[in-house]
């Protein structure tokens, strides 16, 4: 029996396999972005706008440049940030009292940090000369930066994908296909699960 031929064939197969494997590992030009916990809030029947949230992390750094959803879900999708409010992170020290515009934090409070309230005035209300800080949204026209190795959270009160011109209400149990476009990682398709609460 001639062993050389099967050995040659086996080697050829092995080489092809190695080549294919090499090709296979090359199909993304850079590290992918990890996308987790994608969810969208269930909307009221009259709402024309929705929001999609998720966690993103890129090992080497990237930028989310655009987002799209099917036309039968919403007219357009934009990357937004909610800004403003009297407390930047939404965490506030329990039992804070406002006296003459300066927050007096209770002595037993363990939570560190948190600035005092801006613009609070201790008057009865008729004389509230400085209103509570307003919250609003700003479109991130240049996209959302993902610093390398850092998890960036899109969550209520912070970054979010805004869905405009909703075609129909988003109901509990719905899943919405969302296409994310990253500068380096390219296109990533995910599904947002509709929930009425964050967790």
């Amino acid at each position: 029996m001639n062993l050389k031929k099967p050995a040659l064939i086996l080697s050829a197969i092995a080489c092809c396999g190695a080549l294919l494997a090499a090709c296979g590992s090359d199909d993304s030009s850079s590290d992918p972005v990890a996308v987790n916990d994608v969810w969208t809030r269930v909307t009221a029947p009259t709402a024309t706008m929705g929001a999609v949230y998720m966690n993103l992390e890129s090992a080497d750094g990237d930028r989310l440049v655009s987002v799209s959803v099917p036309a039968d879900v919403a007219g357009r999708a934009e990357i937004h940030e909610t800004v403003g409010g009297s407390e930047s992170e939404g965490d506030m020290d329990p039992g804070t009292t406002m006296e003459g515009g300066i927050a007096v934090e209770p002595a037993e409070d363990d939570d560190a940090g948190g600035d005092g309230m801006e613009g609070m005035d201790g008057a009865t209300g008729e004389d509230s000369s400085m209103p509570d800080a307003m919250m609003g949204m700003r479109e991130l026209e240049d996209g959302l930066e993902l610093p390398g190795g850092e998890e960036v959270s899109l969550e209520p009160g912070g970054y979010h994908i805004m869905l405009l011109e909703l075609k129909q209400p988003i109901a509990e149990g719905d899943t919405i296909p969302v296409t994310l476009e990253f500068e380096n990682a390219g296109e990533v398709k995910v599904e947002a699960e509709a929930r009425s609460t964050e967790s």
Binding site: G84, E87, P106, M135, G136, M137
Partner: protein, 214 residues
């Protein structure tokens, strides 16, 4: 993250309640929310109430009897801030015992009366709360809205209209608990958890139990 914060807040709330029980009467330090010194008094401000099923036919922005009105300034096209706050409030109310829940009403004042008609407001709020438990407060009179906002320290700013007619509205995002004397007992900034709100509501209702109000 939320779970552990919830636990911390619950523990803090329980501790606070225990402390309150030992002292002469609950003070502001027992509440999770913020209080102003002196307290904001809203007096008899009112706005047209477009919810025919509400008990609050006068459109008052205060509680009745031994109850509280939970007042929020927002708009229905708000995709992030308003639905988050109202969803948290809904959770807080659902966790209350029915007797306490029955003493509460939610009053939303729209800062976008142009798009938020009475019908839109009612549809939006009924998504979060029982149809006889909310007031849809709306006026197209800008001066009247500004007057009511000023009393609470709230504010809003209508954004620039886009080509497709859409626009955004910046607005202060606090939730106010007002008793039947028109006193703002506590206010919660955006991000306050449902558990914190519920704990404060329970304390305030306990303090007010049995009052007939003004």
């Amino acid at each position: 993250m939320r779970g552990s914060r919830l636990v911390v807040c619950l523990v803090a709330s329980v501790s606070a309640l225990v402390i309150a029980g030992c002292s002469s009467g609950g003070g502001t330090e027992d509440l999770n929310g913020m209080t102003r010194q002196p307290r904001t008094e809203v007096g008899n401000v009112s706005l047209p109430n477009e919810n025919p099923k509400s008990r609050n036919s006068e459109g008052a922005l205060k509680g009745s009897g031994d109850g509280l009105m939970l007042v929020y300034f927002g708009f229905t096209n708000c995709p992030d801030v308003c639905p988050t706050t109202l969803a948290d409030l809904r959770l807080a109310l659902e966790d209350l015992d029915p007797e306490q829940r029955g003493r509460l009403e939610v009053g939303m004042v729209t800062v976008d009366p142009e798009r938020d008609t009475g019908e839109v407001l009612n549809g939006y709020l009924s998504f979060f709360f029982p149809e006889d438990q909310f007031s849809s407060l709306r006026t197209t009179d800008e001066a009247e809205l500004a007057r009511v906002e000023k009393v609470f320290g709230a504010s809003h700013r209508i954004g620039k209209k886009q080509k497709d007619g859409s626009y955004d509205v910046d607005h202060s995002a606090l939730l106010y608990a007002v008793d039947s004397d028109g006193v703002v007992e506590v206010e919660w900034p955006f991000g306050t958890t449902a558990a914190d709100m519920r704990s404060d509501i329970e304390q305030l209702l306990d303090q007010r139990a049995g009052r007939s109000g003004s």
